[in-house]
Subunit: 205 residues, 4 copies
């Protein structure tokens, strides 16, 4: 299993998924009222687009950092990576569902946001699973010392905890749940200690 | 013909096909009943999505292993590879057809599952064809010894045999046929002796 | 301008275009008659799919051979390559139009096939333009000798001549015109002297 | 952060976006009048397609030149690059909106063209932001001397100025605004002094 090909395939999946996201922004077209109103009524689609784009983008950055520091790329990693991608490709669909149902409120909006957060939760757990795999012997260029593991696990697991919170919050308010989902990419913009396995100077960059 | 470019092109096709799969999961949208019911009624789409994703994912892993061990990449291989991809890109369409027709039962469900298994059969036979090509002189870094060839052929051909079985089973039960199709990726998760042409230590990894 | 990035971008465009082709094969779905009849009525879509897939696939193989033998990759080549890709991405759309109109016959079928052949003609002429560019000094690893140029031009130009023929034939019979378009990839499967600029031993491979 | 992976991901996003552009050219199909008339009525779609394709194509060429000359690729650059891609993936959607509304004229055509120019403006400003980042110490292989910076900024900023002009012009004439948007790729075909940070001989190529 070569690192390059794992990266090229993953990058292509991330790229297609991130580009398909925008298709949800297409308006209904002529005969559905003034364009400005159509665009205005599309605010849930724009909001969901921004959150999904930022999340896939940050997952790509973190994927990059993690895979780039591996000393070993094998078939098991490729299979774990496929599980991650299984959830990544669900995101455009779940973004579309949130876009359509959020403004309607009620039970349907709740279900839509829960599906959305669940796809991200699957992605977060798969990513944490890949991180667990990297802790095995000889897998990282610079192994994570025993004492630093739980801190690192927490950093990788923060996303999953937030997505679980979002699912719980959805029962109170779908919009608030969406806000919780949107916190994750913001967290990972500022959390820069994810370059696990990299030499110390790279980690501090 | 460079190995890299064959891989990049193939990876991109695999990636686009695997990402398009999820588009079949899109629900009909507001005005088609409660979202939860719509999602529940979509179970054949979810099932077909999982099977197609796992199959394309595993084909990608095996493609990777086979191409990575080649000593030679030429125009004939590129043409054989195109035949493989011809069937890969059919999979999202046939997945959509199964998703729509499976729950309806009857003759249409049977036809849908047969088309689905037939696309996979084409993919399996093309892959076996590529493997045959690798048996020619000077094509693998470490040639498959004569006595090991039939065993290897069987390993590569198992998918095609299972897809033929699925087509036969479809006349009895489309759902059972789908289950047979779903066995293939599970088989290839556990069958790890496909790294043909690799040095022995890599094969046992 | 790096060769690698020109190749990766082109490969991704070829890959997305070739995968989108298959989307034209999607049947109308439940409520539009027995699935077997729907599939049967789709024969123009299958025919157009096969021709378009084979043509994009062969153009990819030839693109690969030509770019791989370049000694220089510059901004002008990148712009010429963009013109080629401009026509490549038109092919899925024109394939869809042929799929819908061919069986209807009459003026619309003629227009659909002419649009289809015209997109391929644009692709063929752009490719011939890239070949012309390679004849400049220092652009090929092994320059094409003066006396071999017209023969090489003819080989690269055969596609364009056939597409022009297809456009003319479309006025008599759209189906016959489609057959002429389908001859091009078959020609390029057997015409192997396109590895222009490669050392002689590679060309004869 | 490796340069290669940033390039592969960006190239894939550019490639998917540029290929999706053409999908706007699909005609309504049988039952919507003669095909020739449908194609003729599609002229705004063809015009928007050409402008969007040329713009994404040229942005890709310039992105290539800028990233290829970097001495350093870090997480901040990856985040800036994601902002650029956020606008790139909006272009197929906004191209579709312009295609549908331009010929209708009035307020809707104006809104459509402004949305279209705004997506390009976001792309132009992000690109200028990436250029600003490259001015930091140690980021370019050959730093831009202090005295050349404003001239370079102007070259990179010309696109944004033109897009702002297009938005202003849209209040007078949406079609004229579209023409202004179309001037940008033509400008960048002839403005070749963008290979910032490259050795002087490369810049003059």
């Amino acid at each position: 299993m070569s690192r390059t090909r794992l990266e090229v395939f993953s990058d292509a999946v991330f790229a297609v998924a991130i580009t398909l996201l925008a298709l949800n922004l297409t308006v209904a077209g002529p005969g559905h009222g003034p364009l400005l109103h159509q665009v205005g009524d599309h605010w849930p689609a724009f909001l969901a687009y921004l959150i999904s784009f930022a999340t896939i983008g940050l997952i790509w950055v973190n994927h990059h950092a993690l895979i780039g520091n591996l000393a070993l790329v094998d078939r098991n990693l490729a299979l774990l990576n496929l599980v991650l991608l299984l959830f990544v490709v669900l995101i455009p669909v779940d973004t579309a569902t949130v876009s359509e149902y959020l403004a309607l409120g009620g039970q349907d909006a709740r279900v839509a946001v829960i599906l959305y957060a669940a796809a991200f939760l699957g992605m977060g757990l798969s990513f944490a699973g890949i991180f667990e795999w990297t802790l095995g012997p000889g897998r990282l260029r610079q192994p994570v010392p025993e004492r630093a593991r739980w801190k690192a696990r927490l950093r990788f697991g923060t996303a999953s905890i937030l997505y679980l919170t979002a699912i719980a919050v959805a029962f109170l308010s779908p919009l608030a749940a969406l806000a919780v989902v949107g916190v994750v990419p913001i967290y990972y913009i500022f959390e820069r200690n994810l370059a696990i396995g990299a030499p110390a100077d790279v980690r501090q960059q």
